[in-house]
């Protein structure tokens, strides 16, 4: 046994699991199925029904709108409501309709194809009891709490996020070529305050009957890692809560599985996706989409950086952004600022007169390059 102990054990190992791009040849056979998406609000909130077509995988866009269709929602008690196409493929419904009725959706495409939904039964979504956030060492977790009831057991949450985006270097000055000099920026010309908006692709589902008294307590909506751009100053999230039927859950789960869970070591097989819409003329031709009706419950919360500090947001792409050490003097304003790539930042005073400006690159000071300067309508300042 001594000899065993004497052995110097050298292990050479380089195990690596890796992924490489995969581009199989898919028959070019055009695959174009109708896709229907929508949750129609019964309380008159503006809600959208999207009609589109599937596109090949290598297509540059993924939304191919189905235009000029006629979409009619009819109740079994005999009422009919026409949805209006406001943008290509987006049909808007904005009516207060009785929740106890059962509805059918009919779609007549411009090319004459006809589709219809299975009967739709509106579900009254219970309100969001609480929405909030908590911080831990990894970041901020946004959550909601709600309570299901006998009609509303399964929940689907979606959210839209908005936040203030600031450039690394702020400037209050602008070179005005009309007057040939630098002046203060007007509110419209402000490039130091922008807003970013994103709607989430995540599909969040939960069944309340899994929990005691059907209370879904502090359901995680999203997690923002510490230092993330979103809470560089002030962040807002609008959480929409929709109660859905069990068949809807099946659809969303397949959608979720087919998108999120494919390809890991133990991932399940992709599943066929269908929905509650079918073709009238050709019942076997695939249609994708699960349309629901009910009430959308929404809640918006804000998170300020001070609420979660220390946050330490730092975007490394701006680490080379500096304010020049040498000022640009008046006589060089036109040649320096005329192109627009260099911006004045801090004035150089000689007594009470401005004789020049310290400058920086436009990419370091102009947030409109990355975000929208328009404050969203809902935005509330602190």
């Amino acid at each position: 046994m001594k000899q065993v102990l004497k052995i110097v054990f050298v292990v050479l190992i380089a195990l690596q699991a890796c992924r490489t791009p995969f581009d199989p040849e898919i028959p070019s056979k055009e695959i174009s199925f109708l896709v229907v998406e929508g949750y129609l609000d019964t309380e008159g909130k503006r809600s959208e029904l999207k009609l589109s077509r599937t596109v090949p995988l290598d297509s540059s866009t993924s939304f191919s709108p189905e235009k000029n269709a006629s979409v009619i929602l009819s109740s079994q008690s005999g009422q009919q409501f026409q949805l209006q196409e406001e943008e290509p493929g987006i049909y808007v419904f904005e009516r207060n309709v009785p929740e106890q009725d059962v509805y059918n959706l009919e779609i007549f495409l411009a090319n004459g194809e006809r589709f219809k939904s299975k009967p739709l039964k509106p579900i009254l979504t219970p309100p969001i009891i609480d929405a909030g956030f908590q911080k831990d060492e990894e970041g901020v977790e946004v959550f909601v709490t709600t309570k299901g009831d006998e009609n509303a057991d399964d929940f689907l949450w979606t959210f839209e996020e908005s936040w203030i985006y600031r450039p690394r270097i702020r400037t209050a000055y602008i070179y005005d070529s009309k007057i040939g000099t630098v002046r203060d920026r007007t509110a419209e010309e402000d490039i130091s305050l922008c807003f970013k908006n994103e709607s989430s692709p995540d599909i969040l589902l939960e069944t309340s009957s899994r929990f005691q008294d059907q209370v879904v307590f502090k359901q995680t909506i999203t997690e923002i890692p510490t230092g993330d751009e979103r809470i560089m100053e002030r962040y807002s999230i609008l959480i929409s809560q929709k109660a859905i039927a069990q068949e809807d859950v099946a659809f969303w789960e397949i959608l979720k599985k087919n998108t999120e869970d494919i390809g890991s070591i133990f991932s399940p097989l992709p599943s066929l996706i269908g929905g509650n819409i079918s073709s009238v003329d050709n019942p076997n031709s695939p249609v994708i989409g699960q349309v629901s009706m009910g009430v959308v419950q929404e809640k918006r919360i804000y998170i300020n950086r001070v609420d979660v500090s220390p946050w330490n947001y730092l975007d490394p792409q701006f680490n080379d952004c500096i304010i020049s050490l040498e000022p640009v003097f008046t006589q060089f304003y036109a040649s320096t600022f005329g192109s627009g790539f260099v911006l004045p930042t801090i004035p150089l005073m000689a007594g009470t007169t401005i004789v020049g400006y310290y400058v920086t690159d436009k990419r370091c000071a102009d947030c409109t390059l990355y975000a929208s300067p328009v404050k969203p309508e809902f935005w509330e300042d602190e």
Binding site: M1, K2, Q3, V4, I7, F9, V10, V11, L12, I13, A14, L15, Q16, A17, C18, R19, T20, P21, F22, P24, I26, F33, E37, S52, T54, P56, L57, S59, S60, S62, F63, T158, S199, P201, I203, R210, F211, Q212, V215, F217, K218, T220, F251, E253, L255, K257, N258, T259, I262, G263, S264, I265, F266, S267, P268, L269, P270, L272, I273, I288
Partner: protein, 905 residues
């Protein structure tokens, strides 16, 4: 270290064999009734010996034996054993055959015919076979009784049917099933010869003074064991009546290149034709187009429900504790049943009977240690354990890969005890425990364990009739502990436990019948899933799918009937009854309606022990062999099988969280039938074996799942299961060279495995109820193993595998939904991942064979996936920069070197 005589004996043998082997011109060949003249010619062709004899002397002498690397002296001793022929071999390799008197040439060359009583040369001291041992104590009488056991040096298995004889007095006996012999011999200097049929002849020079025990471990030696194993396989290739049976010894497995230095039985059988795997990191294997859960994996008498470690990278069986494996792909004997596709019989090791010894190994992932030896006179034990220290490796992987594995632990423990109770009874007790624990992320801990134990009593009523009676228990359970949030923390668990009793009688009736009959009963208890809150804050509601109980009873009888020399028939019937028992509350679906929630019209309650539903069906096993001549045969067979327990798995490979399900009121037993036909041929004196087999099989009531089916905590699984049919067919070609410096095998398989949703199924019809390829339908499969023995101590192995890529379901279109781009998948399994190809290389180095070394060590090293090919394990698509990018995931995408050290003491 204090050593007994026997310890010395068996130990020295290791080196003796090697020394002797180096110089001798060895004889290999199958001589079925060959005339001696022809035999001499053949030997002369093969070796440098020259024969001298009178033609007339030997005209009636025939040679009837099989030799494999045997010394000419041994072979001739056997040929002339009962005749008055004598032979003498000169140094210049001239062989003189004479009758009556031994021909005297100038000096003695034959070292064992001359009993050098007191001569004691220096050379002889080195050779255990030429050393004289004193047995017994002096007493009255002129004769003494010598008894003992003959066991194999390599695997410590008793050698049955070995001839033990004394050279001068010609007294002889044959060892019984336990390897025991007993012989009355004259006192004084004697030469005892032990002839293992077709193998080596071993000898002991004895000075018999009185009654004594002499256990002898006989020598295949370190290097030649596998040759012996292969040889017995060679005979059976052509002559055994069953077909579709593949055997592999641990020694053969050890030569194969490994992943991370772990000798793996399942990777070993993957080199066989007709066996493939859907995923590289999966020990779940598919036999002849059957699903992975259709393989019965037996460790001794115990069923292993999860044969894998470390989420499937390694098989759960410690190769040190195994003698060999037999895989029955067709021709499954009537005594086996319970799964549709195959039986993998892993034969556990029995402890050495002569002295305490052990073995172990150190590799990059695990260490192994086992200890074996006798306890008293009639009992031997072997215990072994294997533990991992894989965390460092996982840390390494995590830095570089998508596995995201954080922590993993596994270990297993085996213990076997075998004891002889008198002449006619033998007890064998075995136990196995394995445990796995791993995390993919810090919050979720997966763990699972196997626990198996069994007691087997073997009783010999007489020479014709024996009984094996086994009782035991198999348990498998897993749990998942989720702690990502104290409020939602949970503990989810599953378990399946079965107790079994099996009695098998083996009855030789006359010369031509071997009957096998018996009963087999299994009581199942299954907890299909249970979730509990974990921790005081958790608000998860406990939920439990009600436990399942089942009872299975089988009666079987089989007969192997040698009709004549050419034709052997083997047939059997197994009558299988399965009952599903309460307590249970089941919904009642409207008659003739599909199992939809809306079709529930009532509820039925069953009390504890009440029979809910039973199934009865016969299983037929039939195969026949017709020998065309001594070296080729044709075989055909039909098998029907039933399976009452099903693995619920939604992914293409076996995963650690797959659960089992018993047949019940709604889920019927799986049934299948297989037809097979084969041609078997041995060439070049059995040096080359060839076989070609074709098969066609159909399967009923196999399971597939409707889209979006949730298998976990599903009370009403029948609502998500699609009744599915399967069919598979294929051609398997196998060429194996068993001897020579260069040996190995080449297997080619063409096979298809297809499934179809039953057209009457109303829940969903996959691919419009057309036939679609199963997840493991890989039409072309080539396996190559080449082993080259550079020297007695060094051998190198090259292994290659090619197979068609497995089917996958690919996205073909995309659309926008729920705020993101989504994909639309094409028909189930209508595309394939790229073809698979891999080459592995390994070198095994045996240590030197100095007698006084405390441990016998060997090194293995090599490279897995030497070409570094990125074999796709799976493919998937993720949205990336607005475009949907496909990726293929490879698990072992680079050459992976490995090294391990194994030792024996």
């Amino acid at each position: 270290m204090k050593k007994s005589l026997l310890a010395v004996l068996s130990f020295i043998l290791l080196s003796v064999q090697v020394a002797l082997a180096q110089e001798a011109d060895r004889i290999t060949g199958f001589f079925p009734g060959t005339s001696f003249t022809r035999f001499a010619e053949l030997v002369e062709q093969q070796t440098s010996y020259t024969f001298y004899f009178k033609e007339a002397d030997v005209k009636d002498l025939t040679v009837n034996l099989q030799a494999n690397q045997d010394k000419l002296e041994d072979v001739l001793a056997v040929i002339f054993e009962k005749s008055d022929f004598k032979f003498t071999i000169s140094r210049s390799k001239e062989v003189f055959i004479s009758r009556g008197e031994k021909l005297q040439i100038e000096f003695p060359t034959d070292y064992f015919l001359r009993n050098t009583a007191g001569g004691g040369s220096v050379l002889q001291d080195e050779f255990v076979r030429n050393r004289r041992y004193t047995l017994g104590t002096p007493g009255p009488g002129t004769e003494a009784k010598i008894a003992g056991f003959i066991t194999s040096l390599e695997n410590q298995k008793p050698i049955e049917g070995a001839i033990v004889y004394e050279k001068e007095s010609q007294r002889q006996t044959i060892t019984n099933r336990e390897g025991r012999y007993e012989l009355i011999l004259p006192k004084g200097n004697q030469t005892l010869l032990i002839q293992n049929i077709g193998g080596y002849t071993e000898q002991r020079l004895l000075d018999i003074q009185g009654d004594a025990t002499l256990d002898i471990t006989i020598g295949e030696g370190v290097f030649s064991l596998s040759e012996v194993v292969v040889r017995s396989g060679a005979l059976s290739n052509v002559s055994r009546p069953e077909m579709g049976v593949q055997s592999l010894s641990v020694q053969q497995m050890k030569k194969l290149p490994t992943v991370m230095g772990e000798v793996d039985i399942i990777r070993g059988i993957l080199t066989m034709p007709g066996v493939n795997t859907a995923g590289e990191a999966s020990v779940g294997f598919n036999v002849r187009g059957g699903a992975a859960d259709q393989n019965l994996i037996l460790l001794g008498q115990n069923t292993l429900f999860n044969p894998s470690h470390l989420f499937g990278f390694f098989s759960a069986v410690n190769s040190d504790m195994v003698q060999g494996v037999d895989l029955y792909k067709a021709g499954i004997p009537a005594s086996y049943g319970g799964r549709l596709s195959s039986v993998l019989q892993v034969t556990p090791k029995e402890g050495k009977k002569d002295k305490i010894g052990g073995s172990g190994g150190i590799g990059p992932m695990t260490s192994r240690l086992s200890l074996e030896g006798p306890i008293g006179k009639n009992t031997s034990f072997v215990v072994g354990s294997r533990l991992t220290y894989s965390d460092w490796l996982l840390d390494y992987i995590e830095e570089r890969a998508d596995l995201g594995a954080s922590r993993a632990f596994f270990g297993d423990f085996n213990a076997n005890l075998s004891t002889q109770l008198g002449e006619k009874d033998k007890l064998f007790v075995s136990g196995y425990y394995s445990k796995d624990r791993f995390q993919f992320d810090p919050d979720t801990v997966y763990s699972y364990s196997n626990l198996n134990y069994a007691l087997t009593w073997t009783h010999y009523f007489n020479d014709q009739l024996e009984l094996d009676l086994s009782v035991g228990r198999d348990e498998y359970e897993f749990d998942v502990q989720g702690e990502d949030n104290p409020l939602n923390s949970y503990l989810y668990g599953f378990s399946v436990k079965q107790s079994f009793v099996k009695a098998v009688f083996r009855h030789e009736k006359g010369d031509r019948h071997i009957l096998t009959y018996g009963v087999h009963g299994i009581a199942y208890g299954l907890n299909p899933g249970k979730i509990d809150p974990f921790g005081p804050e958790s608000i998860v509601i406990p939920d439990e799918v009600s436990p399942e109980k089942g009872l299975e009873a089988s009666l079987f009888i089989g007969d192997e009937f040698e009709v004549n020399e050419q034709l052997t028939l083997s047939g059997g019937v197994r009558l299988n009854w399965f009952g599903n028992f309460g307590p249970q509350t089941l919904p009642e679906y409207a008659a003739g309606e599909p199992f939809f929630p809306e079709n529930i019209v009532g509820e039925n309650s069953y009390t504890s022990g009440e029979l809910i539903k039973s199934y009865l069906g016969p299983e037929l096993r039939f195969s026949g062999r017709y020998a065309l001549n001594n070296w080729s045969s044709v075989k055909a067979g039909v098998n029907t099988m039933r399976q009452n327990i099903h693995l619920l798995s939604n992914s293409s490979v076996i995963t650690p969280t797959d659960t089992w399900k018993l047949s019940d009121a709604f889920i019927k037993p799986q049934t299948g039938i297989q037809y097979a036909l084969g041609y078997f041929r041995n060439m070049q004196n059995n040096a080359i074996e060839f076989s070609a087999e074709v098969y066609y099989r159909t399967m009923n009531n196999i399971l597939d799942y409707r889209s979006g089916a949730t298998l976990i905590l599903n009370d009403r699984i029948e609502q998500d299961v699609l009744v599915t049919k399967g069919k598979a067919y294929g051609l398997e070609l196998y060429l194996k060279k068993v001897t020579g410096k260069l040996n190995g095998s080449l297997a080619y398989t063409y096979s298809r495995s297809l499934m179809q949703t039953d057209p009457s199924e109303q829940k969903e019809q996959i691919n419009r109820s057309e036939w679609y390829p199963s997840n493991f339908d890989q039409p072309h499969n080539v396996n190559l193993v080449l082993n080259y023995e550079l020297s007695r101590r060094v051998n190198a192995t090259l292994a290659g595998k090619y197979s068609t890529g497995r089917p996958v379901t690919l996205p073909v279109a995309k659309f926008e939904y729920g705020g993101s781009e989504r994909v639309y998948f094409a028909d189930r399994n209508s595309f394939r991942i790229p073809d698979y190809f891999r080459l592995d290389f390994s070198v095994n180095l045996e240590g030197n064979h100095k007698v006084n070394k405390p441990a016998h060590g060997s090194w293995s090293f090599g490279v897995y996936n030497i070409l570094g090919r990125d074999n796709a394990y799976s493919v998937y698509y993720i949205p990336e920069g607005g475009k949907l990018q496909g990726y293929q995931l490879s698990i072992f995408a680079e050459p992976i070197p490995f090294i391990s050290y194994n030792f024996r003491f």
